[in-house]
Every structure is written in structure tokens, then in C-alpha cells.
């Protein structure tokens, strides 16, 4: 039943050889991997204006130079991530770049902060999408958390079906959003050119603004930079592209850069020109759309597309997280399970982990995840900075032909991202300090995992010079509860594999002990029965003591000790309730505490 439900939700299992068909072409990849970055347009401008609004509408013209600053940063990031894609075509992005060029710890810091970041991305974007829905239908407000969880589950299932399939579903909304905003910007500018927008709505660029400070401008810039989160996703997911993967990924990245730049600058410019001020109850994009189109069908189309993309931004995390986890796991910094491809050839464990973790975040913050936005902007600028720096080191070390312009690109990128990072810590410390706590913890865990795997590998290594002790024989212990067919079958098997066979009976009172001994002598005089008495009506303690005694003698003579535990296999699941599970407990106890081999002899019930 479980497996048919699974097949219904996820689809039929795919053969490993079908992997090629699961790769993405550029158009689908753009949709899946840039939804996070593109969705930032929906709130990036607003973030800048919110900071400037603390001075007043007179300061809004500063949004234009700030947008240009963000644009320069975007360009530097696109150019340098393009270089990363070509240099590291197996994906892993900031983690691999930092690890290779800067060392293990910078790599783990980059990887760890990206992992956390993708979890936050999913939580924040799904919550934002849910807010858009509950704003439209206020009666749903009390179910916010439930709706958000349902969405995460939906996206998780979609991704478990495979990236190609999820891309097919998700491409439409992304392109709809791009289309909607492009129309908005073009019509908006057309109206300006036509003179339909009075120029009194905005203060001219260059107006002196009393009370403006560098701190405030930097804070506004940092806020605007939150529009750049998600730019790195493509570099993590290069292996998901159709061949030639690196080339396709690089092209997709540049395409995304242009779209993002156009939309961001367009929205910021229009917001400035139309004199739009951020409001608590209405987003900047919504105000803009209603200025340009009125409350027409076009307005609702733009709003709908925006809500959709906010939810789908989560999907970028689902594409990038499992690959990053794979990279960390193949370097033994994360559990091995992240290496396994699931039924549909995705790294399902990564997908499921991301889904569960983001649900946890949503529940923990009761669906109010806005305060996490600065945290996750910082979480993305740390790997930005580290990967740029890593590339600088690479160019200086390797000095390939034409390395100087490449070096300059990354130098510029590193300088800007480091600056932004510093601005974040200076201007928003109260919101981002948590990153300084959890990053060291994550890196510590990575190292603990690595240490464990190394220790295991060392313990498992076969030493050809060391000849293991030859096993001279086998002592077999059969716990028995009475004289039944199960016991008969177990004893026969025990005699087939063992040199010495003991049956063990634990009695809770003297009479049953004597009775058992009497019956046994008549039934199987060939097998020695050891009877033990338990004062405390407990099987495990007396059997475990007997095992100790036998084991120490067996060890001297290089005998192994096997405990044969019969187990009922009832015909129906609920029958398990009707049989005491002492055999299960006994098995686990002996396996974990004693140096014996535990064999389970199934006894299948037919009725």
C-alpha cells in the first residue's frame, strides 16, 4: 500500500541509464534555478525605499544611485560566477571553490552557510507566498502555517518526481512573472514618454536631503543587495544541465543576469518617477501596477504572477541544496545518505531534508519569517565573498593565459561583496548576529562527521599482513520458551551449524523449571538444556550472564558464539500485537552489548 501511494506521488522508478533524460535545457533551467533571484525583484526596491523613507520622500531619488550600485555588484557576481562555472563544471559552487583554493574550513563555512540559506529561502519564500494568498482571502488567515506546510510538501513531492518534471510545471509561472513585469515596465515608461505622468510626483535627482547619512545610505544599499540572493544557485547545479553543461549553465547565468538587471532597474526607476512610497498594507509593485494600469485585469495578472513566483522561489533551493549536500557528503562532511539517487534519480534525501527543515523553520516562527530575510542575505554574502577570494587565489597561483582580466573581475567582486558583508554586520547586527553562532556549530559538526568516517575507514581497512585468527568452532545457544515446532526447527539448525549446542530456558518459578527439565529429558536428551531462574521475571539479564560465561570460554579456544532466536512471522500485521516482543528486545540487547552473532530463525505462521 505504501509503495503504491509512493508510486502515485513520485512516479515509477527510473533506471540509472535514464539519467540523461532528467537533465535540463537552458529554458527550463532558467525557470528552475533563477526563480529565487528573479523573485527578489518583487521586494528589492521596496527594501531600499523602506530605509530611505525614514528620512522622507525627499530622499527617494537616492534609490537610483543605490540601484546602480546593486547593478554593478550584480554584474561583478555574474561575471565571476561565470568563471566559477567554467573552472568547476562539476558544481558545488562556492563550497568547491573555497575548499580548493582557500582550504577546508573556508569551504565548510561557505557550504554550511549556503545549506542553511537554502532552508531559509524555502521558509521565507513560501511564507511570503502564503501571505499573498491570505491577503487575498482573509478568512484563510488562521490557516497560514498549515497552508505554508502544504506548499512545502507540494514542492517537495514535485522535486522528488525529478527536476525535469518539476521544471516543466514551474517554468510557466516564472516566465509569466517576467512577462508581467516587462509589460509593466514598458507601459510605465511609455506613459512617462507620452507625458501622462506629472513630473511633480518625484524630487529631482541631486536634491539636497537634510539629515541623510552615509550609514543610512549603506543600510539602504545593503537592503537592496538582498535582491541578489539566489544568483549563486546556477553554479551549484551545473551537473543538472544538458551537455555541454558548463557552457549551458554559463549562458543561462548571463541570461538571468540581464533579466534580473532589467527588471530591478526598471521597477526602481518607475517607483522613483511615479513617486511611490512604501506602505505597510500594499507592496511597491502593487502600487506601481495600479498606477500604471488601474485596478484592471492586468493589475491582477501582475499580482497573481508575483505571488506565484514568491512561492516558486523556494524551488531554487530544492535544486541547489541536494547537489551541495552531495558535494559535502562525497567529501565525507555530511552523512553518506546524501550520495544516493532516489527512484527518480534526484538526490531524494537532500530534497526530503530540505523540505522537513524548512517546515520546522516555518513552524518555529509560526509562519512569520520576514525577520529572517537579513539573516539569509548575510548567509549568501559569506559564500559570495569566499568564492570570489578563492578565485583570486586560483588565478594568482595558476596564471592561465589571459588571467589578468579574470583576476580583476574577481578582485572587484570580492571587494564589493566583502564591503556589503561588512555593511550588513555594521548596520543590521541585531538581525544577523545569529550567523556567528550557528556557522561555527555547523562547521564543528562537519568535522565530527568527517572524523567519524575516517575512523571507520581506518578500522575497516584490510591488512594483508595480518592473518585473522582461524575460527575453530561454533557454540550455539537457543533460548527456548517451551517444547514446540519452532524450537524443534531451531535445534535442528543449531546442530547443523554448531559444534556445541545449548538450549536455554528461563523460569519465573520453581515448578515450571522442574516441569520443563522433566519434559526436556524425555523429548531431546541429545541437547543439553540449561535452566536459569529469574527472580525479576526478566529474560535478558539471566541470558546475558550465561552468554558472558560461555563467551569467555569460547574466546580462549577461538570459538564463535551464536545465539539463535526464533521469531514468529505472523500472517497478518496486527497479530504482532498478540506476541510478546521479547525476542526482538533480546536480539537488540545481545547485538549491541555482547560479542555474539545473533541469528533469527523465522517461523512463518500460516493461519
Amino acid at each position: 500500500m505504501f509503495s503504491s501511494l509512493k508510486r502515485f506521488l513520485i512516479g515509477r522508478p527510473l533506471k540509472s541509464t535514464e539519467l540523461g533524460e532528467q537533465k535540463l535545457n537552458k529554458l527550463k533551467a532558467l525557470a528552475v534555478l533563477s526563480s529565487d533571484a528573479l523573485s527578489s525583484v518583487a521586494y528589492g526596491t521596496e527594501q531600499i525605499l523602506l530605509v530611505l523613507a525614514t528620512i522622507g520622500a525627499i530622499a527617494f531619488w537616492y534609490s537610483l544611485p543605490i540601484a546602480i550600485g546593486v547593478l554593478i555588484l550584480l554584474m561583478a557576481l555574474i561575471l565571476s560566477y561565470r568563471q566559477i562555472i567554467y573552472s568547476y563544471p562539476h558544481g558545488g559552487g562556492a563550497y568547491v571553490v573555497s575548499k580548493t583554493n582557500l582550504g577546508v574550513n573556508p569551504g565548510l563555512i561557505a557550504g554550511g552557510s549556503l545549506l542553511v540559506d537554502y532552508i531559509l529561502t524555502v521558509a521565507v519564500s513560501v511564507s511570503a507566498g502564503t501571505d499573498a494568498i491570505t491577503s487575498a482571502f482573509p478568512t484563510l488567515h488562521q490557516y497560514t502555517v498549515g497552508i505554508a506546510i502544504a506548499m512545502v510538501v507540494f514542492i517537495t513531492i514535485l522535486n522528488l518526481r525529478g527536476i525535469n518534471e518539476s521544471a516543466s510545471v514551474l517554468a510557466y509561472p516564472v516566465y509569466l512573472f517576467v512577462l508581467a513585469l516587462v509589460i509593466l515596465i514598458i507601459v510605465g515608461i511609455f506613459r512617462i514618454i507620452n507625458g501622462q505622468v506629472p513630473s511633480t510626483l518625484h524630487t529631482p535627482v541631486g536634491t539636497a536631503v537634510p539629515g541623510i547619512t552615509l550609514f543610512l545610505l549603506l543600510r539602504a544599499f545593503a537592503s537592496g543587495c538582498s535582491a541578489l540572493t539566489g544568483v549563486e544557485a546556477i553554479s551549484n547545479a551545473v551537473p543538472n544541465f544538458k551537455e555541454p553543461a558548463a557552457k549551458n549553465a554559463a549562458k543561462t547565468l548571463v541570461m538571468m543576469g540581464f533579466i534580473l538587471a532589467f527588471l530591478f532597474v526598471g521597477v526602481t526607476f518607475l517607483a522613483y518617477w511615479y513617486g511611490i512610497a512604501p506602505k505597510a498594507e500594499e507592496t511597491v509593485v502593487s502600487q506601481l501596477a495600479s498606477e500604471v494600469f488601474g485596478r484592471s485585469a492586468m493589475y491582477y495578472f501582475i499580482q497573481g504572477a508575483t505571488a506565484l513566483i514568491l512561492i516558486l522561489a523556494a524551488n531554487t533551493g530544492f535544486s541547489a541544496f541536494p547537489l551541495l549536500a552531495y558535494n559535502l557528503a562525497s567529501d565525507k562532511y555530511m552523512p553518506r545518505m546524501y550520495l544516493i539517487r532516489g527512484d527518480r534519480l534526484g538526490y531524494s534525501n537532500g530534497i526530503i531534508t530540505l523540505g522537513l527543515a524548512s517546515i520546522l523553520v516555518i513552524v518555529a516562527f509560526n509562519g512569520q519569517t520576514e525577520q529572517l530575510i537579513p539573516l539569509y542575505a548575510v548567509g549568501v554574502f559569506i559564500p559570495f565573498t569566499l568564492s570570489q577570494t578563492g578565485m583570486i587565489v586560483k588565478w594568482v597561483r595558476e596564471k592561465p593565459t589571459g588571467w589578468v582580466p579574470k583576476l580583476l573581475t574577481n578582485l572587484l567582486g570580492a571587494a564589493i561583496t566583502l564591503t556589503v558583508l561588512c555593511i550588513f554586520f555594521i548596520t543590521k547586527f541585531t538581525q544577523v548576529w545569529a550567523v556567528l553562532v550557528f556557522l561555527p556549530i555547523i562547521v564543528f559538526i562537519f568535522h565530527q562527521i568527517h572524523k567519524h568516517y575516517d575512523a571507520v575507514a581506518e578500522q575497516l581497512r584490510v591488512n594483508p599482513n595480518e592473518i585473522p585468527d582461524k575460527i575453530e568452532g561454533n557454540v550455539v545457544l537457543v533460548p527456548v520458551a517451551g517444547i514446540t515446532k519452532v524450537v524443534e526447527q531451531s535445534l535442528n539448525y543449531a546442530q547443523a551449524i554448531g559444534d556445541y549446542v545449548f538450549a536455554v530456558y528461563v523460569a519465573f518459578d520453581r515448578e515450571s523449571m522442574l516441569r520443563m527439565e522433566g519434559k526436556w529429558k524425555k523429548w531431546r536428551p541429545d541437547v543439553r538444556l540449561v535452566t536459569l531462574f529469574s527472580y525479576y521475571r526478566d529474560l535478558i539479564t539471566p541470558i546475558s550472564k550465561l552468554v558472558d560465561t560461555i563467551e569467555s570460554k569460547a574466546e580462549e579456544r577461538n570459538y564463535t558464539v551464536t545465539v539463535l532466536i526464533p521469531q514468529f512471522i505472523p500472517k497478518k500485521g496486527w497479530h504482532n500485537f498478540l506476541h510478546n516482543q521479547s525476542s526482538v528486545l533480546l536480539r537488540l540487547y545481545l547485538l549491541y552489548k555482547k560479542n555474539v552473532i545473533v541469528s533469527t530463525v523465522p517461523y512463518r505462521l500460516h493461519k
Copy 2:
């Protein structure tokens, strides 16, 4: 850690030989086993008056003849349960009596309805006690369910510590309650005799009441009979008494009868004489106490003792349920686990089941369990009737010396209880119909369980004439994931116990398959390696197919098949997350689906 917490809560384990010390003397038994019945005094009179109040205060004098009717029923029940105790000194009460004399199904109906009844008793009485507390401290009202659950947990733990210990704790409140009500009744009557109570407060007995109907009077009588629930508990718990158990139990029963009769008649009489009408916001006992004592310390003492006994009524269920479950389990109508004595010699599984089930009921009804009272009154009159009828059959069949008065006692009892049962169904059908649904279901489940145990016993029986096939040899399969010490150890063991040993390697791609084959040939040419290819990256399917092939060949030659599965035993619990649990899944699959013996070879990691 778990075991020390357990020891702290429950106490040190007791030896089986200490069982005698856990038996109850009469005083403690009276407290534990009659708290349910005695607590009914707190609401019995009120139930009668509530029905009469639908006519008006003029009808209240009918409460006196109704109380006498209840008294007669009580007497009949006490006398006949006394006879049951002597005839069935091993406990089991109505279940054993009905089963022995009327047949299996009447027995199961009696047993099933009592089991459900005890669960309802606990839920209802704990909820009532919680109501008393939240009435005194209204700020606690929002935590009603939480407080009720905490109380059930507390009583459960107390009972897990052993009946003797719980009796020592619980005896005080029961005797306090009896003392409080005795004082109330004596002082109340004293004031009447002293002429301090005006006789205008009540209508004289015999006043004509317009609009009174037989239906209404019967309904009031049935409501009054709810004061008799819990009378049967002593007969179920005879084995908990100190020797001579039957004699002590019978004496305790009679003692309880006198106390119950005195308190019930006393409260009903005073309520009539003082002209007390039931109010939504104050109980009859509370009104009575405040009439007699004013709001003095004595009033609060009576109220406190009443709240306590309402909660402790639950404890009667905890004494009787496990013993009833034991009786049903030893007849194979309930799972065998109810036969096991826990660390403290109580039947812990029954205690825990009762605790969990009543918490479920409390949660399901959100702590508002009053509507369950009629249901559980019916649930107790069914076994009352069945056990009386059973005794009639017994006397007629066996005809011991002096059987006629015994027969008459039970005839009277059966007649009254059957009448009450009919009255319940006629006058309160909408509240009690559920019993007609769940009783058949419960009896059906009992039979299914019985059938299963019989089938198992038959399948396990050793047939001395049937000589089992001799095992001619053993084929051992060792799934390997690489060349490691674990594999080395497993192969050595496999060679020691097996006649044919195969190593099995499942590859997910061609390269790793060829690589493994090459390495294996150099390392262990003496063991045959079977390599399998899995298109779907899944271990279980290919291995299970191989097992099928080998098994069918082995069966022909009377060979057994053993699959040796190595399992890491990591040093720390969390390390388990770092190792794929495919070996666990493989083991369970093979055990449940294939006819092979599954052996686990532990490999203990030291770091």
C-alpha cells in the same frame, strides 16, 4: 538514563517471592476498591433530583421512595456479589461467573463492557475532579485537559509502583470523605431534631403531584442507580487481598455496602428535608453543607474531600481493570502481554493500557465527559445482570446445601438489575445506544484474538510421529559492499558454519562491477563472488531474486539457506545516522518475505 528515571518513578524491581507483601488488608482494600462506589454519593442524589425537578419542587418527596428502591437494589447486589466472591475466589467477577455458567459469549459481553467501563470511570471521575479544581481556581480553566491528563499520569504511576503503595497514599482521602459526610449527616439530623430546620422547606411525603408519570419516576430511579457503579470492583480483585482472600473480600464488600447505604440515604433524606433543589452552579452536597455549616471551615473540608474522592474513584478502575484483563488474557481473549507482572508485581501492561485509553477518551471529549455517565451506568448494569443470571444457573445446576435462599437472592438481584437495564434503554436510549455498537465489536475482537492463539498453538504443537527432514547442509550468502575487515570476519564465520558460501555484490554501474570482480579474485579466490547489477540503485530486489534461486535449489537437497548480514555497531548513538541502514531493511525484508535464516554479524567500532 531511561532505566534510572523508571526506577525513580516506579521504585526498585521486586522479586516474585515478594508478592505476598503486595497484598491488601481490609482497610486498604476498602479505600482502593470502594472509592468509585463511594464517590457516587457525591452526585447520586443530584441525579435523582435533576429528573424530578422537571416537574417541580413539589415532586422532590419522591426522592425518598426512589432512594429506598436504590437501597434494595444495593442490598441485592451486595448479597449476590458476596456469593460470587465465595464461589469464584480467583477474581474475574462478572466475566468468570457469566462465562462459567452462561457460556463464552455472555462472559465476553460482561468482560468487554466492564473493560470499557473502567476506562470511562477513569475518564469521567478524573474530569469531574478537574472540574472541582477549576471551579475553585477559574484561571486554570483553560488547562482543564492538561490537568486531567496529568492526574491520570499521576494515578498510573502510583499504580505502577504497586497496589499496596498506592493504597497507602490513597486510603486517607477516602476515609476523610467518609468522615466528612458522616459528620454532615449527623449534624444535619441533629439540627432537624433540635427543631432548627423549618418544616416548611419541603412538601410532605405523599403530596399529590400533578403531571408525574411512571416514565419520569423510572428515569429518576435509573439516574439514582448510577450511584451503584463500582459495586462490582471488589469481586474482580479478590486475588489482591491478603489471605484468606475470599473471606476478607466478602467482609470488605459488606462494609462498603453499609457505608454506601448510610451515606446515600443520609444525603438524600437531608436534601429532601432541607428542601434543596439542584442548581447548575452548585452541587447538592455543597448546598447541603452550606445549609448545615454555613461557609465555615467545615464546609470547605467537605468540599475538598469530595473533590479528592472524585479523582480517586479512578483508582478503583486501576485495581480492577488489570485483573480483568489478566483473566481475559489467560483465556486467550486478550493479548498475552496482560499476563506479565511488571517490576513491581502489578500487571503493568493493564495499568498502562487503562491510563492511555482514558487519556484518549479525555482528549476526544475535550475534558467534557459528563455525557458519558449514562453510558457507563449501562456498561455496569449489563455485567450486573449477566452475573446474577449466571449465579441462578449455578444454583439450579449444582443445588448445594442451603441453595434456595441463595437462589432467591440472585433471582431478586437479576430481576432488579434487568429492570434497571431496561429502564436505561427505554428512558435514555439516545445517550446509551453506543453500547449496542461497541460491545459486538469488542466481542468480535476477543474471538479473533482467541482464534489466532488457537491457530498458533496448533501450528506449534510437536508431533512425535512426524520426523522432521534432516538438514543436510547449509548455504550461506554474504552480501558485501567492498573489501573490508567486516567482510573478512563475516566470510570466516560463513565458512565455519556453511557448506557453500557465496559473497554477493550489487553494483549500480558497470565500472564498479568490473573493479570489484578484479579486486575480489586477488583477495579471496576461495570464495565465489556473485555480482548483480541493479538498474534501480536498490539492493533488496536483486538480492531477493538471488535468494529465490538459491532457496529453490537448496530445498530440493534439504539444505538451509542463511544470509549473513554484517552490521556496524557504532560507538555513539548518533553515528547510526552516518551509516545507511540498508542492512536493517534487507534483514527485515528477507525475514518477512523469504524462507531463510538471517544472521547478523555485529562489527563493533571502537572509535
